[in-house]
């Protein structure tokens, strides 16, 4: 196989894996054509989270935080083992964010800094590339204390979150706007053509309903910033920030595959540097760094003198012109210690903050099946799969609702969407078990088992029509999905401001039956600030956050053992 073929294989591999990843996110969606099993379960036909399960950083983080490698995360060995032998091929050949950064970096530019000398200089190894190792050790240390922060920067979680909650919904907004605009021209062939294109593309690209997400600007701008940085430094994210890249760099310490330089043929043309993706020093005057190389093969392919060769058991020693290559990571023990200390210090800081436990936001309503908050924060990687799949657009990324520690973790905002009692999709797609997979039976409960509760509804009598405004309305009761209904009505005869007798039915909430699903809040006609609203108290997952002293039935989960 010639080097050009190998380089083309790498290109194909990048495209294929990127498309697979993108397709899996697209399929993390409640499809109109889904079927239902005999037992009434509606399940997604594809294992949409498998890409996230390939992530060794997530597997390691959860192992440290929780002492377990959760289910599918054992698949991450498929990435880790080849890395040990071959180096960071995952970064150069597979990672979807890596590929995206690669492509954006390579769009030709007129700017001086990216041409010739300037670009060669920017592609030399720089000290900023160490930052990723500090971040890696920071996250690992935080995970040791049970705070899984690495989802913020882990490339696969980041990619799934950004595409699922920001990019695709934005595409939906653009598509809808464009279609309306073209139709408004009033030229019917054009309008029909636009409609045809829209109808063809929408089953693939768009969701059934356009989604609107809370705090989405933070996610979107962060993603844009990562992409834009590629125009300053080639693959800036991969070189300098990516904690998964750092982990794989460390695991490539004993790689038997690498770059062998032949200084006799080299005439110092620096073409290798001009095309280097990892800033790993392929040129004759630098030492080659295994931990930075993403094995893109560009240097070997471009070398006019065949002086560079990727091979098994390469000679990495010093030659006349070239310094010895290194498989070590460019950080000192002292800096590792400082990073670890910072990670260890951050967790107590987070948890001394009042948002954790003592003054938690009443709106911090976690998805059904979410594990207790302390465990949740040691599991959730903020991949946004649950938010994307929720058919009612009920789940949203937090901004500061759960403190800085929980940024971009999921909460339910019933005003936008409520939790459908028979829907179990968020638990199905969660790759880490932060949301446990429930069956419909478990979620709804029965005579012996309690339903899964996410909170409790409260009535604001000043805003409620029958309570405060002598006006009939029973919408919350109508929408209440529990049986018997948690919202019940009492007949009252009221006299309104015009001395007319108005019989009304006033709603009450039975806290023993309410599951906090939020259907009442969603349906309440007082749209801007609803007269009935849900807060997290009464949630099944918490022992402390309760109102009722004793509730009937056994809690779900306890029954399982």
């Amino acid at each position: 196989m010639t080097i050009k073929t190998a380089q083309n294989l790498r290109r194909i591999s990048q495209i294929v894996f990127f498309l697979i990843f993108f397709w899996l996110i697209l399929k993390t969606n409640f499809d109109v054509n889904l079927g239902m099993s005999e037992s009434g379960e509606i399940t997604l036909p594809y294992p949409v989270s498998i890409a996230l399960e390939l992530d060794p950083l997530v597997a390691l983080g959860i192992l440290l935080a929780d002492g377990t490698i959760f289910k599918g995360l054992l698949w991450s060995l498929v990435v880790l083992i080849p890395t040990i032998f071959m180096g960071r091929i995952f970064c150069g050949w597979v990672c979807p964010l890596g590929s995206l950064n690669h492509w954006i970096s390579e769009i030709p530019s007129e700017r001086l800094g990216r041409k010739g000398k300037g670009k060669i200089d920017s592609n030399r190894y720089k000290k900023y590339q160490r930052i990723k190792y500090y971040l890696f050790f920071f996250f690992i240390a935080a995970a040791l204390l049970g705070s899984l922060q690495l989802g913020l920067l882990d490339p696969l979680s980041l990619m799934a979150r950004s595409i699922g909650t920001a990019v695709l919904p934005a595409i939906h907004t653009v598509a809808d706007g464009l279609l309306l605009w073209i139709k408004s021209w009033g030229i019917s062939p054009l309008g029909n053509l636009a409609q045809l294109i829209y109808d063809l593309a929408s089953p693939i690209l768009l969701t059934f309903r356009p989604a609107h997400f809370h705090a989405i600007l933070t996610i979107g701008l962060f993603f844009i910033a990562i992409l834009v940085m590629n125009r300053v430094f080639t693959r800036f994210w991969c070189r300098g920030i990516c904690p998964l890249g750092a982990m794989l760099g460390i695991f490539s310490r004993y790689a038997i595959f690498g770059l062998e330089k032949d200084d006799k043929g080299c005439d110092g043309c620096n073409l290798c540097l001009l095309h280097c993706q990892g800033a790993d020093g392929p040129d004759i005057n630098s030492k080659w760094r295994q931990s930075e190389c993403v094995v893109c093969l560009n240097c070997q392919a471009i070398c006019p003198n065949n002086s560079l060769k990727f091979k098994f058991f390469p000679r990495l020693g010093k030659t006349e012109k070239s310094p010895a290559a290194t498989q070590k990571v460019d950080i000192t023990r002292r800096k590792v210690a400082v990073s670890v200390a910072a990670g260890l210090a951050m967790v107590p800081l987070y948890r001394t903050g009042d948002a954790y436990k003592v003054n938690s936001n009443p709106g911090l309503i976690r998805p059904p099946g979410a594990i207790p908050e302390k465990d949740f924060l040691s599991r959730c990687i903020r991949c946004g799969q649950c938010m994307r799949v929720c058919p009612n657009n009920a789940l949203h990324p937090t901004f500061m609702e759960s403190g800085a520690e929980g940024i971009w973790t999921p909460i339910m905002i019933p005003r936008i969407g409520y939790c459908e009692p028979t829907c179990t999709l968020c638990g199905q797609v969660c790759p880490t078990g932060a949301i446990t997979e429930l069956t419909v039976k478990e979620k709804v409960g029965d005579d012996k088992t309690r339903p899964v509760r996410v909170g409790t509804a409260f009535i604001d009598r000043g805003r409620c029509l029958p309570w405060g405004m002598t006006t009939p309305c029973i919408v919350c009761e109508e929408w209440c999905p529990t049986t018997p209904k948690a919202i019940y009505l009492e007949d009252e005869v009221t006299i309104n401001g015009r001395d007319e007798v108005v019989p009304v039915k006033r709603p009450y909430v039975d806290p023993d039956r309410c599951t906090g699903c939020g259907a009442c809040e969603y349906a309440c006609p007082i749209i801007n600030q609803p007269a009935i609203y849900v807060t997290s108290i009464g949630e099944s997952r918490s022992v402390e956050n309760q109102i009722i002293l004793q509730r009937k039935g056994i809690d779900p989960g306890k029954q399982k053992g």
């Binding site: 499809d31 028979t422 006006t471 009939p472 049986t483 009505l489």
Partner: protein, 317 residues
């Protein structure tokens, strides 16, 4: 500055001033485009009365398809309502994410059979749709209606935002509302409700089922529920009302959930008078029609006969 350069610059500046001022005046105080078109449409889908046939027929049979056939035959069979080449829209109640045995949505097998009958009668197209309360993807799947109706050959449509058109209902309470277009742009309209208890309107059968043709914030309609139901019934007058009372939701309506709240009655009612259909249907819930606000108001508004026996009633049991 040379004279030539001065003239060019001055010319350019003048052109820019003219363009700016012209743009300002051209767009000054323009009406903002894009306000919704309002549609006026007649929505009387009734067929002429036939004095030889009963207006309303009830059939009871453990074979629910047979019950449908019996009651339909009594009011003149499908050929009286559907002519070859006509477009038919069937509106079952698909409001809630509930399975058939919970009796919150219309019996899917009756819907399937109705589709089959319409197609056999030569309908050009049969559309089955509803604007549900819960997410349409869930309600259409779980109710079993999507599967059964598609199997029978209907086009099942899950409503999208752009499927609603602003329509003047010309009601006392309901004026301009978004209406799902498939209910106005059709030739024949068959209403297929299920009988359920409802804590504000006492019952939801045929006329209350018409809430499902509306979009918008219809949860405000409950503030004057009787008038809004009657406004809807006056706006859209079905060709035929087929009431599914095979299973009746006695309590916990309109959403139900517990099979314990469901009573199996094995009954189907076909009626060309939607008030009579509701009057007969509410009796299955143990109600008297003269005590049900919207049925009384509909009778007063001249929409139909509350006293269904006088209207022409047949029972096949």
């Amino acid at each position: 500055m040379e004279r030539r350069e001065f003239l060019i610059k001055a010319g350019q500046a003048t052109a820019l001033v003219v363009a700016t001022v012209a743009t300002g005046f051209y767009f000054h105080n323009r009406e903002i485009a894009g306000s919704d078109k309002i549609i006026f449409k007649t929505t009387g889908f009734e067929i002429p009365p036939d004095s030889t046939l009963p207006v309303i027929a009830l059939a009871r049979n453990e074979d629910h398809i047979a019950a449908l056939h019996d009651s339909l035959e009594a009011v003149g069979w499908i050929g009286r309502f559907i002519k070859p080449g006509e477009r038919v829209t069937i509106k079952p109640n698909i409001a809630w994410d509930r399975s058939p045995e919970q009796a919150a949505d219309t019996n899917p097998y009756l819907v399937g059979e109705m589709v089959r009958l319409c197609i056999a009668a030569g309908a050009a197209e049969v559309i089955v749709t509803d604007n549900p309360c819960n997410d349409a993807r869930r309600t259409f799947i779980r109710s079993g209606i999507k599967e059964q109706a598609e199997k029978a050959g209907a086009r099942v449509i899950l409503p999208q935002t752009e499927d609603f058109i602003m329509t003047d209902l010309k009601g006392e309470l309901l004026t301009v509302w978004p209406v799902l277009k498939y209910f106005v742009e059709t030739d024949r309209f068959i209403n297929m409700p299920i009988v359920k208890q409802h804590s504000l309107s006492s019952c939801t059968i045929g006329m209350k089922n018409l809430y499902g043709i509306l979009g918008g914030r219809r949860n405000q309609l409950h503030q004057k529920i009787d008038q809004s139901i009657v406004d809807l019934a006056a706006f859209i007058r079905p060709t035929l009302t087929v009431v599914d009372a095979t299973h009746v939701l006695m309590r916990g309506g309109p959403q139900g959930g517990s099979p314990g709240d469901v009573k199996t009655v094995h009954t189907v009612i076909c009626s060309t008078d939607q008030v009579a259909a509701d009057a007969r249907g509410c009796e299955l819930l143990g109600l008297k029609p003269e005590h049900v606000g919207h049925i009384v108001l509909a009778q007063k508004s001249g929409l139909g006969q509350l006293d269904y026996r006088r209207a022409g009633y047949k029972e096949i049991v």
